[in-house]
Amino acid sequence: MSSIAEITIIAVIVSIACALPGVFLVLRGTTMVSDAITHTVLLGIVLAFFITRDLNSPLLMVGATLIGVATVWVIEALQRTKLMSNDAAIGVVFPLFFSLAILLITRYTGDVHLDTDSVLMGELVFAPFDRMTLFGIDVGPRALFSMLIILLINVVFISLFYKELKVTTFDAAFAAAIGISPVVIYYGLMTLVSLTAVGAYDSVGSILVVGFMVGPGLTAYLLTYELKKMLGSAVIFAALNSIIGVQAAFAFDTSIAGMIAVLNGLICLTVFIISPKKGLIKNWMLKQKRKEAFDQKLKDTTKR
């Protein structure tokens, strides 16, 4: 397979894997918590690397996921004191953990591939060079397999707990009353977000992951009125944006992850403006109509 085809497939898989939990982040209004997670997982990766000294160890995933969940917990704990808003708690925890990771990388790991550039921006273009071999046979790029596994985990979690995710997101008090714990589901979802962030950071870097998570979900939110359709449309947008993004990045000779993220943002804004359901223009037209009706009524009343 050509490397551009391989890159496209990896990009599509990363995008879909990010978009699925992203739908629930958008609905819960916790997109900024996920922004924090996608950065702080780096600390977990660095710490696990110090223990294993192996960049390909699965322990890196475990460490990163743990730190991701810890991030959520610390933010919640700070917020629970009621001395700090959720927004401020994120603003404190995220840079602290992230900068610690950056310090550790620049100070102690200068001689390995764990350099800040690839961590921040990702290196999708190099993904095909890191091969996976099974019994001596080359079966494809390593990133493809790690992301496929993460995508599979996301799909399984969301289909198994679909009803629970739905009810805890819509009405947490009711969910708790019928014995479906919103806390358990929330931490489950955040574990998923952490795991996805670690997997994706290799390909797209920690800065852009949040765009991959939020963009397709928000685009779908603006177009649909049903959760299943929202999930479906998010997947379609994620795939389309990555396919077009890879082509465009090669055409303009620029960052692939950056191009996909730009597309995610642009498509989302376009839909925000023109969506026939919840778009800006539609909203403006409705307002105008109401205003006309109001003016007419006012005129009729004053005439009498």
Binding site: K166, F170, D171, I178, E226, L227
Partner: protein, 251 residues
């Protein structure tokens, strides 16, 4: 025959950060009756409902349910209790249809991981008909009026097919038609031996709608049948102290 007490609350005290919200509440709710919980803002009405659902941990005291002869705590009987939260507590822009929301009433019976079946769908449809919302089944919930939303919430509670119904201000901001539909359905539930408890704010309609009344303002002021207890004296006693305007910190 003595009237059966389905819910008993004994010496319940609830505090948020050592600020008491409920103080030494002892009360009981009778089977087949509809009871209004009445009190000023900050009296702890919602907190009382929430402690009955074990959302908040009391400092002391307990809530017990005697639904099928045995006395149990909430967790053991949660599928027999339906809860209608305040209308404003959820995100009405959530991508769900009216039928989706009513179907959630079946989730407690299904338990973790199981999907709703055809029979659950049939129950949801039936309850939608009862609240006169069947023609809205595929409507997105953001497009409903306040009254219609409240009827959807009631349909969800009915779909739980419970023995006890706890409703937190179900008539707040609803139209007359909705108020009539809700109160008729609740009356019908009590006729079938169900127990209904409603946090209520409109003193005018208490005599028409309720059998029993519980006046609270942090503590129990008065409790009993509307005929005996719903007096001007008790109303004045309940409303004379507003804890939201009192000195010091609020939670």
């Amino acid at each position: 025959m003595a009237e059966e007490e389905v819910i008993t609350i004994r010496q319940l005290t609830v505090a948020y950060d050592a600020n008491p919200v409920l103080w030494n509440i002892t009360a009981a709710f009778k089977k087949g009756k509809i009871t209004a919980i009445i009190g000023p803002n900050g009296a702890g009405k919602s907190t009382l409902i929430k402690s009955m659902l074990e959302f908040v941990k009391p400092a002391t005291g307990q809530v017990k349910y005697s639904i099928d002869k045995q006395t149990k705590e909430y967790k053991k009987v949660k599928n027999k209790i339906a809860y209608v939260p305040q209308n404003s507590s959820v995100d009405w822009d959530f991508p769900a249809t009216v039928l989706d929301v009513v179907l959630m009433g079946r989730y407690g019976h299904l338990g973790w991981l199981k999907r709703p079946k055809k029979s659950d769908r049939d129950i949801a449809e039936e309850m939608l008909k009862k609240v006169d919302m069947e023609s809205f089944r595929h409507r997105q919930i953001s497009q409903l009026s306040g009254g219609q939303r409240q009827r959807v919430f009631l349909a969800r509670a009915l779909a739980q097919q419970a023995d006890v119904y706890l409703l937190d201000e179900p008539l707040a901001g609803v139209d007359m038609k909705t108020e009539r539909i809700i109160m008729n359905l609740l009356k019908e539930l009590t006729k079938r031996g169900k127990t209904v408890i409603v946090v209520h704010h409109d003193l005018q309609s208490v005599r028409d709608y309720f059998d029993e009344v519980l006046f609270i303002n942090q503590e129990v002021v008065a409790a009993g049948s509307v005929k005996e207890v719903f007096t001007q004296e008790n109303i004045t006693a309940t409303y004379q102290q507003d804890h939201n305007l009192g000195e010091g910190a609020s939670s």
